[in-house]
């Protein structure tokens, strides 16, 4: 084998010009492959880390209520606890509120649309700013200052658009979670360039200040973004677990009517549920039609007798809330039902649409367990929230939300989304880019390999007499074949290594340029630069693939050379 290797190497060096030309072609192809591959990986990395994870989060617990376009989780503490209990601490990096709202800003004589975003960070975490922004003017420390009512960090592009400088004020108008209009004066404490163009229209403020502006109560939250250590591996896994753990219980709230204890139980506002309940609940007084309507209220006969209530009477029901003390609501008895049911004697039966808004605003301190889950009546009872089914991708998610928009219920909805559903189209981009790159490279290599075949054929033709000589002095057919294959292998391997090296140089050079783009290109820029991310395994795989293709391609002409008769070969004359 040593002789074969030495001969192959010598032959490779013998025909420098031809091999150099072929080597340049192979190396160039490899360089293109490395650059394209790194570019697609870098682009996806930017999209995931700079766009998807900020815009969608690795995993999001999304809450909505009624038809509001605001996200709303009424009991943040409870949901955060469930998240923390079910995601391993080593996998959980942080949980953030996705606080943001589009509004209108007026600076010094200029106006623009802005997105006000709340970023909750402590003073000792301010390194975040240096990772994220390039400070141009002002001081990031003022972000935590209480000297200003609403200190805000503005991008240089937005500062220019609004014609403001540090310590100038910006007036903003934004809608609140309630639908009312809010206005505020923000003080520019820093002007900075964000690493991503998406951040140019964003005004950054402390999370609690944005919450206050948007009208969230301290215990409420916008959707919760969960940042995971390895989202590609764990996001879907934890999303499924959280989906299971966030299954809601039925609405059953212990309260009082006067001094009498009772349980408020809500039934679903759809025909199937009502049918199931009708089979169990017999109305003995009042207006049955009204009782089953959207705002219907029914009192059990035993409770009505205890309180001296008749159909049409008004009464006050009170319960202990979690954050707001005792809440009292006035109801009218639409009907009285026979209390000899499995629902129990002290039950106030209410249509869910009558109670969701109240329970969402005045969260009960506790929801009681009511009926067993396998009880046929259980599914007729309204739940604390509606847990939306998991979606496979963006299209399915969009369809789900579209259907939910038609649903006019005031019930809260919870949805668990990972970036795969929230931004599946962006993530598909990587696969598409890789495919395109691979196709382009295969075409390139097909052309190159035709070159290899031709070169070998020419070489074999030129060396026919030489082949005859070495065969005559005793070299085996197999060795002759291997000399040619090894020669191609050396050429391809050296060219590929040179191509990879050149590719890395090109990446460094291209990555050093700064682009002042605000167009579509800016989406894939980080700090104004193209991002390349070398994928060593992918490059190694391609390298091996090319070697195999080269060997296979060289095999047939090499075998042809090896099979030449020594006598015929010696007689060959050009």
């Amino acid at each position: 084998m040593g002789l074969v290797t030495r001969l192959s190497w010598r032959n490779l060096v013998r025909q420098k010009k031809r091999n150099l030309f072929l080597g340049i072609c192979i190396g160039f192809g490899m360089m293109i492959l490395v650059v394209a591959n790194s570019f697609s990986h870098g682009m996806v990395d930017v999209l995931i880390n700079e766009v998807v994870s900020y815009a969608f989060g690795h995993l999001v617990v999304d809450g909505t209520q009624g038809n509001s376009y605001f996200t709303m989780i009424r009991d943040k503490e409870r949901i955060v606890k469930i998240i923390e209990e079910n995601i391993k601490p080593e996998d959980l990096l942080e949980i953030n509120e996705n606080l943001g709202m589009m509004g209108r800003a007026v600076g010094n004589g200029e106006a623009d649309n802005v997105v006000v975003v709340g970023v909750t960070i402590e003073e000792d975490e301010k390194y975040f700013f240096n990772d994220f922004f390039t400070l141009l003017d002002g001081n990031f420390d003022d972000y935590f200052s209480t000297d200003y009512e609403y200190p805000v960090i503005v991008s240089s592009a937005m500062a220019k658009s609004l014609n403001v400088k540090v310590h100038d004020t910006i007036k903003i108008r934004i809608p609140m979670v309630t639908g009312q209009i809010q206005a505020a004066k923000l003080t520019v404490i820093a002007i900075a360039d964000a690493s991503n163009t998406f951040m140019n229209m964003v005004l950054f403020m402390q999370g609690y200040r944005v919450k206050e502006l948007l009208g969230y109560k301290p215990w409420e939250s916008a959707s919760l973004q969960v940042t995971l250590r390895d989202p590609l591996k764990t996001a879907k896994y934890y999303a499924d677990i959280l989906h299971e753990k966030l299954k809601p219980g039925v609405i059953c709230v212990a309260g009082k009517i006067g001094r009498a204890d009772c349980q408020l139980v809500a039934f679903k506002h759809h025909d199937q549920a009502k049918e199931a309940l009708r089979a169990e609940v017999t109305i003995v007084a009042g207006d049955p039609e009204k009782a089953w309507e959207k705002r219907g209220v029914m009192v059990s006969k035993a409770l009505a007798q205890k309180l001296g209530l008749k159909a049409g009477d008004k009464f006050n029901y009170s319960y202990q809330t979690k954050f707001r003390g005792i809440y009292e609501e006035e109801f009218t008895v639409d009907a009285i039902y026979d209390s000899r049911t499995k629902l129990g004697a002290d039950v106030l039966l209410v249509n869910e649409e009558r109670i969701h808004d109240i329970l969402n605003t005045y969260l009960p301190a506790e929801f009681q367990e009511f009926l067993a889950e396998d009880d046929p009546l259980y599914t007729a009872l309204a739940t604390e929230w509606k847990l939306l089914r998991r979606s496979k991708d963006s299209q399915e998610l969009e369809k789900l939300y579209k259907n939910e928009r038609k649903n006019k219920s005031t019930q809260s909805r919870l949805n668990i989304i990972t970036m795969y559903e929230g931004a599946s189209d962006i993530l598909k981009l990587e696969a598409v880019l890789n495919l395109l790159t691979m196709n382009a490279v295969l075409i390139l290599f097909f052309i190159i390999l035709i070159g290899v075949v031709n070169t070998l054929r020419m070489t074999i033709k030129e060396r026919t007499r030489e082949i005859g000589t070495i065969r005559a002095i005793g070299m085996q057919k197999r060795d002759v074949r291997n000399v040619f294959i090894m020669e191609t292998l050396f050429l391809t391997a050296l060219s590929c290594i040179a191509g990879v090296t050149l590719g890395i140089v090109v990446i460094k050079v291209l990555g050093a340029f700064t682009f002042n783009s605000t167009g579509a290109l800016s989406i894939i820029l980080k700090d104004g630069r193209l991002v390349f991310k070398l994928a060593p395994l992918s490059i190694l795989g391609n390298f091996l693939l090319i070697l195999v293709i080269a060997c296979v391609t060289a095999y047939f002409p090499a075998r042809h050379a090896a099979n030449l008769s020594a006598v015929e070969a010696l007689r060959h004359y050009e």
Partner: protein, 256 residues
Amino acid sequence: MAKRIITVLVCSLFIVSGFIYAAPGVNDLLAEIDEMMDLESDGTAKVKITQQKAGEGVKVYEAIYYLRDRDDAFLIIMTAPEVEKGNGYLKQDDNFWMYRRNTRTFQHINRDESIAGTNAKGGDFENKKLTELYKPTLNEAGEEIITETMIGKVPVYQFELTAKTEDVTYPKVIFWVRQDNYLPLKTEGYSLSGTLMESAYYLKYTRIGGKYMWVKAMFVDEFEKGNKAVVEIQNISLQKIEDHVFTKTYLENLSK
């Protein structure tokens, strides 16, 4: 003795005149305005909005508006400008749809969404009573904030209201209403933080079906200076409208 009698008489006169000329209560004024302006009838009208935005010039929007009194269903079909022509909005029960002529599709929208890119929202077209939405703002002494003042040469009552529900755009509103017939001449809407956001001037009223209705109003954006919209309502008819008008099919046909 005579001096005492005169003093008592003068005081009584002041007290009586005080009762006679005292400003009415704010709740009474609101109820009066609601009563005066509640048409209690179906209605059709042509609505023209001339919107001026700073740096964007003037745009004129025109639409035909159909209202069913029974359930407050309404239908709006845009007739101008050309890019909006044929687009429409339909509200029925809790459903609010936007129709796009180009794609021939209906889309569920939120009542807080803009109508045809103007400052008007779906919710603005709902028939709501002031007494349901607002209550008088009380000062530190627990009294209603109401004063008598003038707008130009017209004597008016100026009073402040606070939202009763969250279902209003402005949590605080100030009204200026004529003293002689209680018609609002001007309103100011304030944000929760107390910033003046919008002033509305009701320039012209008409009497129809025994009720009052403003037919020309100017809405000035006080937040972003230079933006304003003049809304004119023309060709008002209070004839009953058939139920088939408030359907998707009818909107599609109108759009053609």
